[in-house]
C-alpha cells in the first residue's frame, strides 16, 4: 500500500512511520505546518507544530529513507480549529480542539489530499486500533495501552474515514515499549517529552489566551434560585465544575463549597450550586456520527435504545448508559446563532447514564463505546437530571 504518515516530530508518529516501512508499505512522511508563524506555536519539545518538531520529523524520515514534505495547512487550522475554538468558548461551550483537528484536518483535509495524490492510507501515531469485522469493514477500538488510549479523540471518524486509517502503534502494550523501540532504532526523539494541552496556546494558559481574543464582559454570579451572589469579569473564563476563584463572599446556607453549574453567554450569567447540583444523568448530543454503520438495533425511544458505555473526556472512565436516537434537526443549534457558517444540528442522540456524571459542559464530546469498540459520538448540547429537552 501507499501510506502517508503524518509525522508530528514526536516519538509515537516516528515509530508509526518505522513500522509502516517495516511492514513493506511504500511510505511518505509529511509534517503539517499549522501556524502561519511557526515561532508562535509552542516552542521547545512540548507540543506540536514548531520548526524544531518539523526538523525532528525530518531526521526520522531521513533515517528511514522515506521522502518527507512539510505541507501548509495553516489556513485550514486557523479557520477550522482555532477560530472555532474561540467561537465555542464565546458561546459558553467547552470544545475539544484535538478532536476537531482529527475531524477536520488530519482525517479530512489531509486525507482528501492524500487520496487524491494516490495514497491508500494515512498513518498516525495514535493509540487506537482499526479492526476489520467479518465483512472486512473497519471498526475502531481502544488502544492496547488503556492509559494512553486515544480512541476518544478519534471517535469522530466515520466508517468511510476509517477505511483509510492505519494506526501502527495502537496494539503496542505500552508507551514505554514505543520509547524503547525508538531508542533501539536510534531516533533522537526517543526521550522527547509527551505533548500536553493545546498546541496553539503557547504557555498552556487557556484562560489568558482566550481573554485576549474574547471581549471580557463583567456580569453576575447567581444561584439556582436567581439570587445574586457576586460578580465576575467575564463568563467565558469559568468552567462547569469549577470551585476555586469564584470570589463569592457570602457562604452557602449549608456551609458547603459552591461550584459553577451553568454558563449563560446570552445573559452573561454564571450559575453556582452545590456539588450535588453538578450531577447529570441525561445528555442530549447533536451531530451524531457513527464509526461505521449505525448500530442496527438502536431505536428512537429509551425502551428501544442500546446498552453501551459513554465517555465524556479523553481520559475519564466510561460509564454504563442507554442511548437512543432523537430527531434529525436541519437548523443549527441556538448557541451558534452568531456563527456565520453554522451547520445543522443533525441527528440527535439521547443518553441516560447509569451513574451520575459531574461537571459536564456543553460542547464536550460524548463517545459511545461497546466494550473496546467505538460506536460513534455526538457533541453534548443539553445536560440534565432528567430527560428535559429530549426531542
Amino acid at each position: 500500500m501507499k501510506v502517508l504518515v503524518a509525522m508530528s516530530g514526536g516519538v509515537d508518529s516516528a515509530v508509526a512511520a518505522a513500522r509502516a516501512v517495516d511492514a513493506g508499505h511504500e511510505v511518505v512522511g509529511v509534517h503539517l505546518a499549522l501556524s502561519r508563524m511557526p515561532g508562535t506555536l509552542r516552542t521547545g519539545s512540548r507540543g506540536c507544530c514548531t520548526i524544531e518538531d518539523s526538523r525532528d520529523a525530518h531526521r526520522v524520515a531521513g533515517m528511514l529513507g522515506i521522502p518527507f514534505y512539510v505541507w501548509d495547512f495553516s489556513e485550514r487550522f486557523k479557520e477550522d480549529i482555532v477560530d472555532d475554538f474561540i467561537a465555542e468558548y464565546a458561546a459558553g461551550r467547552t470544545p475539544n480542539p484535538c478532536m476537531r483537528c482529527n475531524e477536520r484536518i488530519k482525517f479530512a483535509a489531509l486525507l482528501d489530499r492524500a487520496l487524491a495524490l494516490g495514497f491508500d492510507q494515512i498513518a498516525t501515531g495514535h493509540y487506537a486500533e482499526v479492526v476489520r469485522d467479518a465483512d472486512g469493514r473497519p471498526e475502531l477500538h481502544r488502544g492496547e495501552d488503556l492509559a494512553k488510549d486515544q480512541s476518544y479523540v478519534l471517535g469522530v471518524l466515520t466508517g468511510e474515514q476509517l477505511e483509510h486509517c492505519y494506526f501502527p502503534i495502537g496494539a503496542t502494550a505500552s508507551k514505554a515499549e514505543v520509547r524503547a523501540e525508538a531508542a533501539e532504532r536510534g531516533f533522537s526523539v526517543a526521550n522527547k517529552p509527551d505533548s500536553y494541552d493545546i498546541c496553539f496556546i503557547p504557555d498552556g494558559d487557556t484562560k489568558a489566551w482566550l481573554a485576549d481574543k474574547i471581549p471580557m464582559r463583567p456580569g453576575l454570579i447567581k444561584d439556582a434560585e436567581g439570587e445574586v451572589l457576586g460578580e465576575h469579569d467575564g463568563a467565558m473564563t469559568f468552567t462547569i465544575g469549577q470551585r476555586k476563584g469564584l470570589g463569592i463572599e457570602k457562604p452557602a446556607g449549608d456551609g458547603k463549597p459552591r461550584f459553577v453549574t451553568g454558563l449563560d453567554p446570552a445573559s452573561n450569567t454564571v450559575t453556582v450550586g452545590s456539588r450535588a447540583d453538578l450531577g447529570v444523568s441525561h445528555l442530549t448530543g447533536i451531530r451524531t456520527s457513527w464509526a461505521g454503520p449505525a448500530p442496527a438495533d438502536i431505536g428512537t425511544s429509551p425502551e428501544t435504545g442500546i446498552d453501551c458505555e459513554v465517555q465524556i473526556r479523553a481520559h475519564s472512565d466510561p460509564v454504563p448508559a442507554r442511548a437512543w436516537l432523537g430527531d434529525v434537526v436541519t437548523e443549527a443549534p441556538d448557541h451558534e446563532a452568531a456563527v456565520p457558517a453554522a451547520r445543522p444540528a443533525g441527528q440527535l442522540l439521547h443518553v441516560d447514564v447509569a451513574e451520575e456524571l459531574s461537571g459536564v459542559a456543553p460542547g464536550q464530546t460524548m463517545v459511545v463505546y461497546r466494550g473496546t469498540r467505538v460506536l460513534g459520538q455526538a457533541t453534548i448540547d443539553v445536560t440534565g437530571r432528567d430527560r428535559l429537552g429530549a426531542r
Binding site: P38, Y69, D80, L117
Partner: protein, 397 residues
C-alpha cells in the same frame, strides 16, 4: 561542486595558512588569497582588488551593505538620522527585507519601490521616489535578478539615477552571478553582493564588492581584516575555491546563457502548449534569467505539484526555500499582484549545467498527469468538506 573547484578547494584545505600571519607559511597563504581576490575583481569588473571584501556569504554581505551603509550615512548612529530613508523593493530576498525591517525598528523609514506584474521595478516611479528627498536618503538596494521569477532589474538606469543624486546604490547579485554579465564599474554601484555556493563554490564564502570611496560601518568587530570593514580570520580555501567558481561561471557566459535560454524557452513553450491554466510568471526573453522558468497552475497547491514531480524524479521548487521548510505564499508573487491562491499554485523550474533537452521533454511528459492529480487534491483555501452544505457537497461530488 565542479571538479576544478573541488580540486583547488581540497588542495587548499590540506594546507595550513592564516593569511594574516607574518611567517613564510602565512605569507604564502596571503599570496594565494590575494590572487583569488584579483581574479574575482577582474572577472566582475571591479577597478581594484581592494574592492573585494570577503564575507561568510550573501546574507552577511547584504547585511553589511544595508546596515553598514545606512549607519555610515547617518554618522554611525541610529539616533536622529539625518538620512532616514532606505529605498528597496518588496520582492527582495529576506536578507535585504528583514534587514530593512530591522533598520525600520531602529528609526529608518523604508520606501518600497513598486514592481509591475512581471516583478520589474517601475522606473518612472523609482525615479520619482529617488528624487523626492535625495538629501534624506541613506541608500538604494535592489537585486540584480529575482531568485523566484527570474526578473532582471534595470540596473544601469537605477545606477545612473542614484549616482546623479549622490545616493549609494547596493545590488544584491547573488542570483544573477554566472547567469548574466555583471560589471561592477559599469553598473556604477556602491556595493554588490555575490556568493560562492550559487555558482558551484563552497557554502560559507561570499563577498561584498565595495567602492573604495565607501566605508560602511562594520557589523562584525574584531581583528580589523578586510579594510577594517569585515573582521574575522580569512578563509583562504574558500576564497580560492570561490575564485575558481567565479572563473567558471563568468567564462563562456554568453554561450552558456544561450544554451540555458533555449532549454528554458523549450520548457516554457511546452508547458504553455500542454497545460491549461498554466501562466508564466515574470518576463519573457532577455528580461529573464536564462535558467529560470516559473509558472502558476490555477487550482493546484504548489506542494501537491512538487510532490507529484518529485515522485517522478523531477526536482522543482514551490518558491524560495524557507527556514521552516514550509511554503507560504511567496512575498515576491504577492508583490507582483497575485492573489494568495494564485501564489500558492506556483512552481519554479531551474535549468542547470546538467539539464538536457531530454530532461525538459521528460518534465513535459510527466506534467499533465501531475497537474491533474494536484487539481483533484484541491486547494487548502477551498470550503472544507465538513462545512459544505448538502447542496455544495453534491456539486463537488
Amino acid at each position: 561542486m565542479p571538479q576544478a573547484v573541488l580540486d583547488v578547494y581540497t588542495t587548499e584545505l590540506s594546507r595550513r595558512a592564516n593569511p594574516s600571519s607574518l611567517h613564510a607559511v602565512g605569507q604564502a597563504g596571503r599570496m594565494r588569497l590575494e590572487t583569488a581576490r584579483d581574479d574575482i575583481a577582474r572577472a566582475l569588473g571591479a577597478t581594484s582588488s581592494s574592492e573585494v571584501v570577503f564575507t561568510s556569504g550573501g546574507t552577511e554581505a547584504d547585511n553589511l551593505a544595508v546596515k553598514g551603509l545606512y549607519l555610515s550615512r547617518n554618522n554611525g548612529s541610529f539616533a536622529e538620522p539625518s538620512r532616514p530613508l532606505v529605498l528597496t523593493s518588496a520582492i527582495e530576498h529576506h536578507a535585504i527585507l528583514d534587514s530593512v525591517d530591522w533598520l525600520e525598528s531602529q528609526g529608518a523609514e523604508i520606501v518600497l519601490l513598486d514592481v509591475d506584474e512581471t516583478g520589474r521595478i517601475d522606473l518612472p516611479a523609482a525615479e520619482a521616489a529617488l528624487r523626492r528627498d535625495p538629501d534624506r536618503t541613506a541608500l538604494l538596494s535592489v537585486m540584480a535578478a529575482n531568485n523566484e521569477i527570474g526578473t532582471i532589474q534595470p540596473l544601469a538606469e537605477l545606477g545612473r539615477l542614484a549616482r546623479d543624486l549622490g545616493i549609494p546604490f547596493h545590488i544584491d547579485a547573488v542570483q544573477a552571478l554566472g547567469q548574466i554579465p555583471l560589471d561592477f564599474a559599469e553598473l556604477e554601484a556602491t556595493a554588490m553582493t555575490i556568493t560562492a555556493h550559487k555558482i558551484g563554490g563552497p557554502v560559507g564564502i561570499g563577498a561584498l564588492l565595495l567602492d573604495r570611496a565607501a566605508s560602511p560601518t562594520p557589523i562584525l568587530h574584531g581583528g580589523g581584516q578586510e579594510r577594517s570593514v569585515r573582521s574575522g580570520t580569512l578563509d583562504v580555501a574558500g576564497a580560492v575555491a570561490f575564485a575558481a567558481a567565479v572563473d567558471l561561471a563568468t567564462s563562456d557566459l554568453d554561450s552558456r546563457a544561450a544554451k540555458f535560454s533555449d532549454l528554458r524557452d523549450r520548457l516554457i513553450a511546452g508547458v504553455e502548449a500542454t497545460i491549461e491554466g498554466a501562466r508564466l510568471s515574470g518576463p519573457r526573453g532577455t528580461g529573464r534569467l536564462p535558467g529560470n522558468a516559473h509558472f502558476t497552475f490555477a487550482g493546484c497547491e504548489g506542494d501537491s505539484l512538487l510532490f507529484g514531480l518529485d515522485a517522478r524524479g523531477i526536482a522543482t521548487s514551490t518558491g524560495s526555500a524557507c527556514s521552516a521548510g514550509v511554503s507560504r505564499p511567496s512575498h515576491v508573487l504577492l508583490a507582483a499582484g497575485m492573489s494568495e491562491d494564485v501564489a500558492r499554485s506556483a512552481q519554479r523550474f531551474t535549468v542547470g549545467h546538467d539539464t538536457a533537452a531530454s530532461d525538459i521533454d521528460a518534465l513535459l511528459e510527466a506534467l499533465p498527469a501531475v497537474v491533474d492529480q494536484a487539481r483533484r487534491a484541491g486547494m487548502v483555501s477551498a470550503t472544507p468538506r465538513w462545512r459544505q452544505t448538502a447542496h455544495e457537497s453534491q456539486e463537488s461530488a
